[in-house]
């Protein structure tokens, strides 16, 4: 069990880094990576939303959407003497909309919290804070947990948290580089976003190197 969680953690952070290998959540990656402190605030918000959204979406998926014996609606229907097989309660097609509902609610909550505790961070994140809702990395984590990898609850939460850590890693690396570039003497045509894109590409290339990491026994 512990080994599997380890593997999930390392692969979410390094091998399948959400930003640099899966190319999810690129919008804040380039949008808020100008300054280190706002990048840190952003990644904390994303990690928080990712972890909690992973947990809640897993519960929703398992107990409301999947057509199994443990489906809550099936249980309630059975309680009232309703004759049907669990297969009749297949609501998996609701997955995207219900996941987005969860994510949007969490983002709203995070927005309120940040506005309350740190107005400076709130204004420096600007539009990118509500845009976490549409950050595909978060929906991506939820979908990978449920549809693709069939993780259990603990694995989902660990995967969500580590995906957030991976996002943090990529964002902080980028912000650190870009802060230094601000004062560097670079050609005028490359200043700002053009160079940021080139750097993003190079970082992504270097992260592809982690693909060689192997967790096969004795390997």
């Amino acid at each position: 069990m512990a080994t599997k969680l380890m593997v999930i953690a390392v692969s979410a952070i390094l091998i399948n880094n959400f930003v640099l290998t899966r190319f999810l959540g690129l919008c804040p990656y380039l949008g808020v990576s100008k300054r280190l402190d706002s990048a840190l605030g952003m990644s904390m918000a994303v990690t928080f939303v990712m972890t909690l959204a992973s947990a809640i979406t897993w519960l929703i998926w398992q107990f409301l959407l999947l057509p199994t014996e443990s489906n809550l609606i099936y249980q309630v229907a059975k309680l009232f003497g309703f004759e049907a097989t669990p297969a009749a309660f297949d609501l998996t097609y609701l997955e995207t909309i219900s996941f987005i509902l969860v994510i949007a609610s969490f983002v709203q909550f995070v927005e309120m919290v940040i506005q309350k505790i740190s107005p400076t961070l709130y204004s420096s994140l600007g539009i990118f804070l509500p845009l976490i809702t549409t950050n595909c990395a978060i929906l991506g984590v939820a979908e990978l947990n449920t549809i693709t990898y069939h993780y259990n609850f603990l694995e989902s939460v660990v995967h969500g948290f580590c995906a957030g850590i991976g996002f943090t890693l990529a964002l902080l690396l980028m912000a650190g580089i870009r802060e230094r570039l601000e004062v560097a003497n670079i050609p005028k045509a490359l200043k700002g976003l053009p160079l940021a894109f080139i750097i993003a590409g190079l970082m992504s290339l270097s992260f592809l190197g982690f693909t060689g990491l192997s967790f096969v026994k004795g390997g």
Binding site: I60, L64, L65, I73, L94, I97, L101, V102, S105, F109
Partner: protein, 289 residues
């Protein structure tokens, strides 16, 4: 079977929505941030066109900055004096009167009077044309006439005339200065509205070379200087310059000027009213010459 699915989905989604909605409503109450009520009031007074002339992305940004004291109440060039006064009332501070300004074109060339030095065939913006040897006009100071300013004006106050010069509607112009910013030739200028007479040329070339390339430019003949009764107009660096403090807007220089480069705004506004509606052609003619 499908009925179960329909009812099931409705229950699941509305249930989830209800739970999260209640949770958010509850946390909204707990985490509510009190915003300064004056911000909203100031925003109401501002014009609300979100033109960005103040340097903030929108009127709400400026309203916040004004309330926080980072910007003076007169920062909005569009709302001008009136808005500044009302903001002053809201904030309880005295506001010095600042007048609304007007953008004018400091060029009298156009495709009739100013010669071209080459035939420009490229992207039809002043920005692009100006990169090729200061533009296609023989005069380095001339308006290029592709209408970048007309495009940029958030108030639709600028139209391009058939001569290929921007016509600025004095009534619509809010004096925001966006056209002045965008013009690559710096040929537009904001002047005070009380200054009704201005020189529509900004070339500091010698009179003889101006005469060679443009029929409408200031040739520094100094006739205006001689005719002015109050000593308000002077030729410096081959260009007539008016001191708005001294000028009484008598209009003698306007009559005397041999190239008609000194313009009386009052008359121009009158002309505009007569021919209103005919000045909406684009700047295409300029390239076909």
């Amino acid at each position: 079977m499908s009925l179960i699915i329909i009812i099931g989905s409705v229950i699941v989604l509305s249930g989830l929505g209800l739970i999260f909605g209640l949770w958010l409503a509850f946390s909204e109450k707990r985490l509510a941030v009190k915003e300064d009520p004056r911000v909203e009031k100031v925003e109401e007074v501002l014009p609300g066109s979100n033109c960005g002339a103040c340097g903030y992305p929108g009127c709400s940004g400026l309203a916040k900055a004004i309330v926080e004291g980072k910007e003076p109440p007169s920062r909005c060039p569009v709302g001008g004096d009136e808005a500044a006064k009302r903001i002053g009332d809201i904030l309880g501070i005295e506001v010095e009167a600042e007048e609304r300004k007007l953008a004018v074109l400091r060029c009298n060339g156009g495709n009739q009077r100013a010669k071209d030095k080459y035939e420009y065939r490229g992207i039809e913006t002043c920005q692009a044309a100006s990169l090729l040897g200061y533009g296609q006009k023989a005069c380095d100071y001339a308006c290029l006439g592709f209408g970048d300013c007309a495009q940029a004006c958030p108030f639709d106050a600028i139209t391009m005339s058939e001569e290929g010069l921007p016509i600025i509607d004095a009534e619509k112009c809010a004096g925001c200065g966006i056209c002045v910013e965008i013009c690559p030739k710096d040929v537009l200028e904001l002047i005070s509205r009380s200054q009704t007479i201005y020189v529509a040329c900004n070339s500091t070339d010698a009179g003889r070379s101006v005469r060679k390339i443009c029929k409408g430019g200031c040739i520094a003949c100094k006739l205006c200087e001689k005719v002015c009764p109050v000593d308000a107009i002077h030729v410096e660096d081959n260009l007539a310059r008016i001191d708005p403090e001294k000028c009484t807007a008598c209009g003698k220089c306007v009559e005397k000027c041999p190239t008609n480069v000194i313009i009386d705004l009052r008359e121009r506004i009158k002309d505009q009213k007569v021919s209103s509606g005919s000045g909406s052609s684009t700047a295409d003619e300029n390239t076909s010459s």
